[in-house]
């Protein structure tokens, strides 16, 4: 029976404590999940355990793995354990995989000390276990996010490591893939493995069960049985975190039974789109009325974004037609992007770009300040470049930018899928409050979010 315990873990940068966790124990059959928002230090804790922190950070603490006691300060003493005793499933597995290696050889590399043939047969079995036997000869770029995650899982566990650390596994995955991953991780625990999961996804935490620890500003504010912590949170912060789940939102802008008699501003009639021989969508009829909130949801790769782009005219359709009301011309359709950093000119301060928008749409001089106040951001952020502002802040600035053009339709393309739940709740709240009479077209893989926001919810298969 393997056990893993952490004692007095402190990670500091200068005189700032980024992680301060006195004790954490992993036992077989009882997974531990650390939840918290971005910047709470939860990922740093995982990297401190693995010994993969940046050298600018000072680490202190002890790791007890069975009878072995290791000092976390010495980053190199865990190297020999990697893959054999402890393994880590990194964030963004699609980036962690070698793009030039086929899946099977990549997984086989992790079978330490085995001959080539044994390694490959082990790898084949591991891939079959995660349901990817058919993709053994594929290259990583042909895999979906969920598939890449499962390949990374196979590669991380093939070395026989019983202690598995998983960092933000659900980032960018649709709910089907998250369920599947949760199943894999539960199986690992069921086989007597240790599991430490770092996530901001409370649904994943609930699905994994075991123990949940809530981290905020470097420390654990509440921990206990998953059911207790998530079901009846004691700490105020945990309560806010739990309430940030879209299915629990109670916001003044939410509405049911909304109906507009108005003529549709966008009407798609029998539209189809294919890339080569692969059909993205076929024969879709859809319309958006003035002020209507329409959500397109479905698993990744189903063509939601392409459909959204086709509706607002960014992507031409192969068949059928999209009729847009003439009043939408002249910048009255705006888009919010999944990664707001890429949607701003990268090398100029944000305010410079916004000034051009204000001038083009004749927004009054104080309008930017008003909107910045409305989305609860300090105007001083605008002096920075896009890369120097956090994702949640920049997405709110993107909302400000879109509103400067006084849109009649806003297309939010997975606009909050990279944000943690609290930030997502704040961002969506800003968007919906400031949207006014404009219509909303939202593309998301999060069914709960779609239900919370939309009047009309279109689920794509």
């Amino acid at each position: 029976m393997t056990t893993l315990e952490l004692h007095d873990v402190v990670v500091a940068h200068g005189d700032r404590r980024l992680v301060d966790v006195p004790h954490l124990a992993l036992e077989p059959g009882r997974p531990v999940t650390i939840v918290g928002e971005s910047g709470s230090g939860k990922s740093l804790l995982a990297h401190a355990l693995m010994g993969t922190l940046a050298s600018s950070l000072v680490v202190d603490g002890k790791l007890a793995l069975d009878e072995t006691l290791l000092h976390l300060g010495d980053r190199s003493n865990r190297r020999a354990l990697w893959g054999r005793r402890i393994a880590m499933l990194p964030q963004e597995p699609a980036l962690a995989l070698d793009p030039t290696m086929r899946v099977l050889s990549q997984v086989a590399e992790g079978a330490l000390g085995a001959s080539r043939t044994t390694a490959r047969s082990h790898a084949g079995a591991a891939l079959a276990d995660v349901g990817l036997a058919a993709s053994a000869r594929s290259f990583p770029h042909t895999l979906s996010g969920g598939m890449a995650q499962r390949v990374a899982y196979a590669a991380a566990t093939i070395g026989g490591a019983r202690a598995l650390i998983v960092d933000e596994p659900s980032k960018g995955l649709d709910s089907g893939s998250v369920d599947r991953l949760a199943g894999l991780l539960r199986d690992h625990v069921g086989d007597g493995g240790l599991l430490l999961t770092i996530t901001h996804d409370l649904r994943l935490a609930a699905a994994l069960g075991g123990e949940v620890a809530v981290m905020r500003e470097a420390t654990v504010v509440e921990s206990g049985d998953a059911v207790d912590v998530l079901g009846s949170p004691q700490h105020d912060y945990t309560r806010r975190l739990v309430d940030a789940d879209p299915s629990r939102w109670r916001q003044p802008w939410q509405r049911t039974g909304w109906y507009s008699p108005g003529e549709a501003i966008v009407r798609a009639i029998g539209i189809s789109k294919a890339y080569g021989a692969t059909s993205v969508f076929a024969d879709v009829d859809l319309h958006i009325r003035p002020g209507e909130r329409v959500a397109l949801s479905g698993p990744s790769g189903v063509g939601k974004t392409t459909l959204g782009n086709a509706l607002i005219g960014l992507t031409p359709v192969d068949a059928g037609r999209v009729v847009r009301e003439p009043s939408l011309a002249g910048g009255r359709v705006q888009k919010l992007y999944q990664d707001p950093t890429l949607s701003f000119p990268a090398l100029v301060p944000i305010e410079v770009g916004l000034r051009d928008v204000s001038r083009r749409h004749r927004a009054s001089a104080s309008r930017v300040d008003e909107l910045m106040a409305a989305v609860r951001l300090s105007p001083s952020l605008l002096a920075r470049r896009p890369g120097e502002v956090s994702g949640g802040e920049l997405q709110r600035i993107a909302i400000v930018r879109a509103l400067l053009a006084e849109p009649r339709l806003v297309f939010a393309d997975e606009a909050t899928s990279r944000l943690d739940l609290l930030t997502q709740a704040g961002t969506i709240d800003c968007l919906m409050t400031e949207l006014g009479e404009a219509a909303l077209l939202m593309v998301t893989h999060d069914r709960a979010l779609a239900t919370a926001v939309a009047d009309t919810h279109v689920e794509l298969e």
Binding site: H13, R16, G39, V333, D339, L342, P345, G353, D356, R360
Partner: protein, 277 residues
């Protein structure tokens, strides 16, 4: 992830870090430019001969001595430096404007425009650069300045074209420009806010390398006597002319070589450090 591991981002925007190497390079180039501008105005006529002062050693009145025709080496050097700098700037500006404009055009239009421009640029790459210049010089037997300029500029625009086209295609196809077009921001916005800030450091690097290439190419041609012809004062030509006297008047060859070295080192030292967002 990297953001999580580096909790405090060092913000350097607005503050351009002054590197000592670049300051030194700028000082050297500034001094040479001053010499090139003021020298021809203040010093003696570089063509006036005084055979009585045949190969005079450096002295207070002639700091760099005189050549085999008794001409002032300092005055000739000032003229040669001016010529090199002016020709270098002309070639670089021409190549830069031509290459940048065609690069942006190819990236924004795509299709046949892109295909044609790419084919033309590849044709230029296929021929060694100095050969083109040699060809141009040979066509005009007297080795005039104009042919030298045309040859060098035509050889160099390809670099700008390829670099600009690659970068611009990436930017123009990205979400930021898509957002700008949804916001109805015109071409000027895309050019000023998206393209120019990203291209500027690349262009500055290419331009300083281009200055080096132009100056060296010009003096190389002068050195093998197919570029500008005597009695014009030109750095490469001055080195060749000084060859027969290297044992009795070493300062003759040393002076133009030193200026060439300083110009080359200066422009290389000036190269813009690339800035990424």
């Amino acid at each position: 992830m990297s953001a999580a591991l580096l909790p405090e981002v060092v913000r350097t925007h607005g503050v351009r870090r002054r590197e000592p190497g670049r300051v030194l390079a700028a000082l050297v180039l500034g001094a040479l430019a001053l010499f090139a501008v003021l020298g021809p105005l203040l010093l003696a006529d570089p063509t006036s001969q005084d055979l009585g002062r045949y190969l005079e050693a450096p002295s207070p009145s002639e700091p760099l001595g005189t050549d085999e025709y008794g001409r002032s080496v300092l005055a000739r050097l000032a003229h040669a430096t001016r010529l090199s700098l002016v020709l270098g700037v002309l070639c670089v500006v021409t190549a830069l404007v031509l290459g940048t404009a065609s690069g942006i055009l190819a990236a924004s239009r795509g299709g046949w425009v892109d295909a044609v421009l790419r084919a033309v640029s590849e044709a230029f790459v296929a021929i060694p650069a100095l050969l083109v210049v040699l060809l141009f010089s040979a066509l005009a037997a007297d080795g005039s300045l104009l042919t030298l300029y045309l040859g060098l500029a035509l050889v160099q625009w390809v670099e700008y074209f390829r670099v600009v086209r690659a970068k611009a295609a990436l930017i123009l196809g990205g979400p930021a420009v898509e957002a700008a077009s949804l916001l109805q921001l015109g071409r000027v916005h895309v050019l000023r806010r998206h393209l120019w800030p990203a291209l500027r450091p690349l262009l500055l690097t290419l331009a300083s390398l281009g200055m080096v290439t132009s100056i060296l190419a010009m003096s190389t041609l002068g050195f093998v006597k197919v570029g500008l012809q005597p009695p014009r004062a030109e750095l490469g030509l001055m080195v060749t002319e000084a060859f027969p006297f290297y044992d009795v008047a070493p300062w003759l060859a040393l002076a133009p070589v030193t200026v060439l070295f300083l110009l080359t080192a200066g422009f290389l030292g000036l190269r813009h450090r690339e800035v990424s967002p």
